[in-house]
Amino acid sequence: MLGRKQSLSDQRTWEAAYRNAATLVQTAAFEDLLAQTVSQIRQTCQGKHVAFGWSGGKDSLVLQEVMALAGYTECVLVLTYLEYRAFLQWVTDHMPPDLTVLRTRHDLCWLRDHPHMLFPQTASTAAQWFHQVQHQGQQDYVRARKIDFLAVGRRRLDGNYCGRDGLYTNRAGITRYAPLVSWTHEEVFAALHYFGRTLPPCYGWPRGYQVGTGPWAARQWTCSLREAFDEVWQIDPEVVLEAARMLPSAAGYLAVRDMEALCADSLVLSG
C-alpha cells in the first residue's frame, strides 16, 4: 500500500498504482466502500446546507462523484492569478456544473512583495499558502452562502488533519467534513477508474503526484530555486518568462540558463 504522499517522490510508483487500481481494488470491494461512504454522507449532512471544495485534484474528483451520489452538487474552487494555463484549460473542460470559482489576490505583484512565499521551503510557508488561498477563499464562500458543512477531499493518508470521524470546526467557525477520511490512495485511484474520470495534466508533470494541483509559485519540496524554476520551465516556459518581468529570482534564473546555453554552444563550436 502507498504511504503518505509527502514521503513518496517516486512518480513511477504513483503511476503504477493508478494504472493497476482496478486490480488492487476489485469492483465488489469498491461498491461496498462507495455505498458505505454515501450512506455516511447522507447521515452526517441530513438537514444541513452542504457544499464541497473542488480543486480538480484526484481526491476532489472522487469527492465530486460521491457527493453527487449523496445529492450534493454545490462546490467551490479557489484560484490565484498564479495558475498554470494548462490547468485552467483543463478546469474549463471538466468543471462540475454547480461550481463557483473565486480568485484570491495572489498575483505576480503580490509575489514580488512577498518573495519568501516563492517555492515554500518549510512546512510553515506551505501552510501559509494553504491558509491564504484555500482556507480564506473557502471561508468567504461558506459565509456568503451560509453553508453549514464544507466537505473536503482531505484524507489521513495524505497527512491531513481531518478531526475525529472527519468532522472538525476551525477557529474561524468553519466546519469541514472529510468523507474520504479513511480512504487509501489505491481506493481513490480505483474510484477514478470506476467513475471514468481523467486526471488533470499536473499529474503527468515532474513530481506531479507529490505536488498535486495548486499555483506554480507554491510548488513544494524543491531543493533550490534553480530546481524549482527548472521544473516550472519543463511544465510551461511561458510562466517563467512572464515571472521574469516581475521577479528578480526568475530573471536571474533565465540569465544563468542563457549563459549556460551560450557556454554549451561555445564548447561545441570550439570542439
Binding site: L88, V91, T92, D93, P97, L99, T100, V101, T104, R105
Partner: protein
C-alpha cells in the same frame, strides 16, 4: 470555464436578468461583458474587469430587446479588456460572440483556416470560423472537432435582431416566458437544459 446569460424578446424581467448575471458570475470571476440592443437600435458593448473583493458597478440596460452576457474565467490575459467577451466580430452587421470552452492550438487553427483575428483570445477563432461557415453551427463544431477532438463548448452569438446559442458539452439552460426567452450557463427557475450537440436561433 465561463458563464453565459441573456435575453431576447420584448422587455425583460430585470430582476430575473440580474439573477442570471449573478449565477453566470459564479463561473467567471475575472471579467464581465454585455452586448445589448434596444428595440430597433444597434448592438452596444459594455465590458468590466473584476478583481477579488471588488464588485464592478454593473448597470444593465433598462429595456433591451436583446442582451448577450458573459462572465469570464481567463485562462490567459487576465488584465486584457480586449479579450473580454462578448467579442466584437468585425463583420457587417456587427456580431457579438461569447464562448465557454477552450480552443486549443488556436493560432495554428487560425492559420490553417485562414481566419483573421484581432485579439489573441482563443474564442475569437471559433467565432470567426462560425462566420466563415455562413453561420453554420454544425459545420463550425465539426471543423473544431477535426482540429482538437471532442471537447466541451457552449457559446452565444448575436446581431441586433437575432441570437444563436450552441451547447456542445458545456451546460446551457433556456426558459421561454411571455416577454421572451432567457438563457444561462447555470440552472434557473423554469429552465430546461439544451441537449448536448444542439443549437437554437431566435429572432426579434
Amino acid at each position: 470555464m465561463c458563464g453565459l446569460f441573456g435575453f431576447i424578446g420584448i422587455v425583460p424581467d430585470i430582476a430575473l436578468l440580474l439573477t442570471l448575471l449573478r449565477l453566470a458570475r459564479t463561473r467567471g470571476p475575472d471579467a464581465l461583458g454585455i452586448a445589448s440592443a434596444l428595440p430597433g437600435r444597434e448592438l452596444v458593448w459594455q465590458h468590466w474587469l473584476t478583481r477579488p473583493g471588488k464588485t464592478p458597478s454593473v448597470t444593465l440596460p433598462r429595456a433591451p430587446a436583446l442582451l448577450l452576457g458573459h462572465a469570464r474565467l481567463a485562462t490567459s490575459g487576465h488584465g486584457a479588456l480586449a479579450e473580454t467577451h462578448p467579442l466584437r466580430l468585425r463583420v457587417e452587421p456587427p456580431v457579438a460572440f461569447a464562448h465557454n470552452g477552450t480552443v486549443y492550438r488556436h493560432e495554428a487553427l487560425a492559420l490553417e483556416t485562414g481566419v483573421q483575428c484581432e485579439t489573441s483570445c482563443d474564442s475569437e477563432v471559433l467565432g470567426q470560423l462560425w462566420q466563415q461557415s455562413g453561420k453554420d453551427v454544425t459545420l463550425t463544431m465539426q471543423r473544431l472537432e477535426t482540429s482538437q477532438g471532442v471537447t466541451p463548448h457552449a457559446w452565444g452569438a448575436a446581431t441586433a435582431q437575432q441570437v444563436w446559442l450552441a451547447s456542445w458539452g458545456q451546460p446551457l439552460y433556456v426558459a421561454a416566458r411571455e416577454e421572451g426567452r432567457y438563457w444561462c450557463s447555470r440552472r434557473f427557475p423554469e429552465s430546461t437544459a439544451l441537449s448536448a450537440g444542439t443549437f437554437v436561433s431566435w429572432s426579434l
